[in-house]
Amino acid sequence: MSTALEINDLVVRYGTKTAVAGLSMTARLGSVTAVVGPNGAGKTTTVETCEGYRSPTAGSVRVLGLDPVADSAALRPRIGVMLQEGGVPSSAKVGETLEHFARFYQNPQSPRELINLLGLSDVSATYRRMSGGEQQRLKFAIAIIGRPELVFLDEPTAGLDAHAKRIVWDVVNQLRASGVGIILTTHLMDDVEQLADEVFVVHHGRVVGNGSPEELTSSELPTMTFRATAGINLASLSASLPNGVSVVEASAGSYRLTGIAGSQALKLISDWSSEQDIDVHDLNTGRRKLEDVFMELTRGGATES
């Protein structure tokens, strides 16, 4: 697989405000790379630098091997972009708009088939009368109409119902399988869990964590969590634990065992709970939730002044 995107020590400043403060990341073709982070973390600035909207203050950005600003004319036909906000005139109709964007490219996708695939059946609906979900799908269609090598999607499933979300996920999976590189900017962990091959967590303009969703959610030490009534005396449980395994009440009613996981841990807990007549539920073994990892990595203020 070849490189879709390579960012080295990117710094972007607006006046005195530093939006991106030395960020490095790479993304591959045929792969979904998610850029996640709280609002104001520098995700959008990073992605817009890749799209050629702004120039780096320092560091370098290469997209499909090209400089997004200097080689803009060569790059633009090869990428597709879905902006979070707008992009379509309010009185434009679905069909004519997609047909229009198709005319910019040499070998476009059939607008009609793309409209069918994405379930945008009413081709004469004007943009302003469409639901938020339909507007999202039209913008998604515009991003992929030119059969690009690399697609930038900013919050592609925001405002979509479950069915429409499935459709978009399905098309993204097809794009990946066909060798297209996908850069996904999102704050929805749902999207990340479903789609991402590689995740970059951005905070205060830097990458604070990266890896596959599996790598990010697996802990160094095996863990197991469960819920029960708050304030249980854990002495009896601690006593029955093997060496190197500990148990704590992480928050009221939520307990975590560290150093053990899987069936061994399950057996331990169930034996102990029936013995003590304690009602244990929500047993979870091995993995943390992506959401928790994300919160942990980006703790300490959502924005930076």
């Binding site: 990428i79 902006l83 992009g87 005139p89 009185s91 229009h100 490219y105 088939e113 066909s178």
Partner: protein, 257 residues
């Protein structure tokens, strides 16, 4: 969903530049024709004023029929409404809704976008001109003067007003652009020597109007269509200066996002 299997294997590439420009011009033309306010501004008001001013005694014909004085002014007004007012409003809103931003990452370069916008404006002006001249002929107007010189002035006025529309949209936000473009249109319509000949305005106002782009175009068109030889130099210089000033301001202030 559809039974057809689309291939998503990359097959990227830009269409030829001319196809891109024509597609964009066609799309924008369709959108303008669908916009009631734009049609009111570019077609209905000029035609309404053409008929009104021909029958009402506001403008004097002096040695020629009144309509011969009215028609060039209406043409100047039509050019201003399309190249300046309507365009400033549409680019203000296109920018606000991210339309220009999204176009910025398609193969359509900014230069091509400018060319396509120019094509759209020229297409609308052609429709305006045909309608104005047909209605005028119905009201008894007969062509006179030098049509080539008139056409040169119209093109120069279009370029000048276009540059000014980008300057205005560059300085102001979308809503303010809308308000300012309409206000300037009204002021130039009434005070600028656009439809009212300079000789029929109070002295200072007539002189003032000669240095406005609208007055320069209106006065210039009245001169050449009344059969004056050559192209009026004052009008040409005034239009070029306003166009250059507009282009300089637009270059400094206009952002595509």
């Amino acid at each position: 969903m559809s039974a057809t299997e689309l291939s998503f294997t990359p097959h990227a590439g830009a269409a030829p530049a001319t196809s891109q420009v024509l597609a964009q011009a066609r799309y924008e033309f369709k959108l303008v024709m669908r916009n009631g306010e734009q049609l009111l501004l570019t077609l209905i008001i000029p035609l309404f004023l053409l008929i009104g001013l021909t029958y009402m005694p506001f403008i004097k014909g002096d040695d020629q029929p009144r309509i011969s004085v009215v028609v060039p002014g209406i043409i100047a007004l039509a050019v201003m409404s399309t190249a300046f007012t309507a365009q400033a409003i549409s680019i203000g809103f296109d920018r606000r809704y991210g339309v220009l931003k999204l176009l910025g990452v398609t193969p359509l370069s900014r230069l091509r976008l400018l060319v396509s916008k120019t094509c759209t404006i020229l297409a609308i002006e052609a429709i305006q001109l045909v309608l104005i001249l047909v209605v005028a002929a119905g009201l008894g107007w007969r062509p006179g003067g030098n049509p080539v010189a008139a056409l040169i002035l119209i093109l120069l006025g279009t370029a000048s007003f276009s540059a000014l529309s980008f300057a205005l949209a560059g300085i102001l936000r979308a809503e303010a652009t809308l308000a300012a473009a309409n206000a300037i249109y009204l002021i130039l319509l009434l005070a600028g020597g656009t439809v009212i000949p300079r000789e029929q305005l109070p002295g200072w106002l007539g002189t003032f109007g000669e240095f406005l782009p609208s007055g320069a175009l209106g006065n210039g068109l009245r001169d050449v269509m009344a059969g004056e030889a050559g192209i009026p130099l004052v009008s040409v210089v005034v239009l070029i200066l306003w166009g250059a000033a507009g282009a300089a301001i637009a270059h400094r202030t206009f952002k595509w996002e």
